[in-house]
């Protein structure tokens, strides 16, 4: 597990008379995800690019594990730093395998090690090597390409990864899935990550620490997400974080933080009358033979007897995973008639239900900011 500290020490970058980044000092501890967030023109991308020297600072130093990046050979430096950009930038003329193998090949790894590493990575990001390895980027979906971009950046086990709006170009549903996958991946790999976004919600969700930057290249606040939400350092941060700060705190919690309860269930094909005799609950949860939920069935609308099929379920039945944030779960609950979400495990099987009451309780019981301040 490779990781390194990244430190900005009084770093400034000037283009002409204007400062793009002004006297930036911050330390990213090894293994953290540091999110640089701010409106466009705040210097977040410029700061990121000073780590792998795509931009060189006018003054100050960027240090990786205490070593000034300007003192490291630029090619060597870049091959040790994973780099993911919004437009992905996969090589269109190379197969997915070759794309992921890029940096290991530049580093001269033996073929066997490269084969094993690429296969491992493709599996890690949830793509079947047999299906995608020999395909070209144009044959993959946007979400798949973005995953391959992350895999390519991680291929040579870099101690530091730079991610510039990595999930900015995919639709919100895919983005959420990619975010969760990356967080899971990060928990196992532990690489130090610098992550740029303009989306405060993404920053709060992804960051171990969040650096809020202000137009003109000033660092406004650098703190863990909870502290940012509860104690914004100035008006700019408060406005940027938004009036819905309380709601945003919900993004920091996920369904696994809530005590789940059980619901009345029934199997697909069970007789309607038999179910009604068994329970007086207004809704029952319909499961298939593999314990996968089909959705809620409103018993008062179930007419007559006979087997109950998937067509009887309420189409607005919210289904969430243990990784869904409470903010998203709340949104789904409010939009649904049942107001109880079905929670499924990683294999899609029924794990319990989440009620509005349980959600509110978990929110109120969440740790106070003092406990979260490192």
């Amino acid at each position: 597990m490779s990781q390194a500290t990244v430190e900005f020490r009084h770093v400034s970058k000037q283009y002409g008379p204007q400062g793009a980044v002004v006297d930036l000092s911050l330390l990213v501890p090894a293994g953290d995800i540091c999110v640089l967030v701010g409106p466009s023109g705040c210097g977040k991308t410029t700061s990121l690019k000073m780590v792998n020297r795509l931009v060189e600072p006018t003054s100050g130093q960027v240090l990786i594990d205490g070593q000034d990046v300007m003192s490291i050979d630029v090619t060597t430096l870049r091959r040790r730093i994973g780099y993911v950009i919004q437009q992905v930038g996969l090589f269109p003329h190379q197969t997915i395998f070759d794309n992921v193998a890029t940096v290991p090949r530049l580093l001269g790894w033996p073929k066997k090690r490269i084969d094993a590493r690429v296969t491992e990575l493709l599996e890690l990001i949830g793509l079947d090597p047999a299906r995608v390895a020999e395909r070209y980027p144009a044959q993959l979906s946007g979400g798949e390409r973005q995953r391959v971009g992350v895999a390519r950046a991680m291929a040579a086990e870099p101690p530091v990864m730079l991610m510039d709006e990595p999930f900015g170009a995919v639709d919100p549903i895919v983005r959420e899935r990619l975010q969760n996958e990356f967080l899971r991946l990060h928990r196992t790999l532990g690489t130090t990550v610098l992550f740029v976004t303009h989306d405060i919600d993404e920053a709060i969700k992804m960051g171990t620490r969040v650096a809020v930057m202000q137009v003109g290249g000033h660092l406004a606040q650098y703190a863990p997400p909870t502290e940012l939400l509860l104690r914004p350092a100035n008006d700019f941060v408060a406005r940027f974080v938004g009036v819905d700060r309380g709601l945003k705190r919900l993004s920091l919690l996920d369904v696994s933080d809530v005590g789940l309860t059980d619901a009345e269930t029934a199997r697909i094909g069970e007789d309607g009358d038999a179910i009604r005799r068994r329970t007086d609950a207004p809704y029952v949860l319909l499961l298939d033979a593999d314990d996968k939920p089909a959705g809620w069935v409103n018993l008062s609308q179930l007419r007559g007897s006979g087997p109950v099929g998937p067509e009887a379920v309420d189409p607005s039945s919210p289904i969430v995973t243990l990784e869904t944030t409470l903010r998203d779960a709340l949104a789904m609950l409010l939009a649904s008639a049942v107001q109880t979400a079905v929670v499924v495990d990683e294999r899609g099987r029924y794990a319990g239900v989440l009620t509005l009451d349980a959600l509110g309780e978990a929110f109120r019981a969440a740790p106070e900011p003092e406990a979260a301040v490192v």
Binding site: L54, R78, R79, Q86, G89, F91, L106
Partner: protein
């Protein structure tokens, strides 16, 4: 044309198959040398432009001027210097390929998506590695498109060099005109067209083989 005679005398044609075949070979030689030399020159010019983008305007201006000189006049002007030789023919033919080849090579190299460039740079590609492993492969479709145009125009232009004693199939055309004899004229013209179409087709196939990623969806 002599009157009362068929447009093509098949007897004459069959008696001169060897000669016609030789003209085809000659025609191909003139074409390949012209496009080959033109491609090498254009590639060197394009690399110079890649290093110094300021050269693009003067290079396209000069090659553009060359391109506009009427071929008849160009060959006539060269004869006093280099005589009725293959060299004279090739100087003219090469000149006409440069504009289209330089434009397409430079355009192809510049057409590499910026995000691909940025990703490659960020992973530690040097400028040369970027050229050979990223820019050239991605530019191949555009470069081949330029070569196709150059080949097709050159096949046509080669016939004009018959006026300075070269010409490949142009020799047959000129013979037809000089002797008021339609058979060689038509054969020369038709074979010239066939050559252009066949070579163009071969290049399309080569490009498809060389760029498998453009075939996928």
């Amino acid at each position: 044309m002599r009157t009362g005679e068929d447009l093509i005398l098949w007897d004459w044609t069959f008696n001169h198959l060897g000669d016609i075949g030789q003209r085809v070979v000659e025609h191909l030689e003139l074409t390949f040398i012209a496009v080959g030399v033109g491609f090498v020159l254009a590639a060197l010019l394009s690399l110079a432009i890649r290093e110094r983008p300021g050269l693009y305007a003067p290079v396209t201006w000069v090659t553009g001027v060359l391109y506009t000189i009427p071929s008849l006049a160009l060959f006539a002007l060269l004869v006093p210097i280099t005589g009725f030789t293959v060299l004279t023919a090739e100087i003219g033919l090469v000149s006409y390929t440069l504009l289209i080849l330089v434009r397409n090579i430079v355009g192809g190299l510049r057409g590499v998506p910026p995000e691909v460039r940025e990703a490659a740079t960020g992973m530690g590609y040097s400028r040369w590695r970027m050229l050979w492993q990223i820019e050239v492969p991605l530019a191949t479709p555009v470069i081949v498109a330029g070569v196709r145009v150059a080949v097709v125009t050159t096949v046509g232009l080669v016939t004009v060099t018959a006026l300075i004693g070269q010409g490949g199939l142009g020799f047959l055309i000129r013979m037809g005109i000089d002797q008021f004899f339609s058979t060689p004229l038509i054969i020369g013209a038709v074979l010239s067209i066939v050559l252009a179409v066949v070579l163009d087709g071969i290049l399309v196939l080569v490009q498809r083989q060389a760029t498998p990623w453009t075939r996928s969806t």
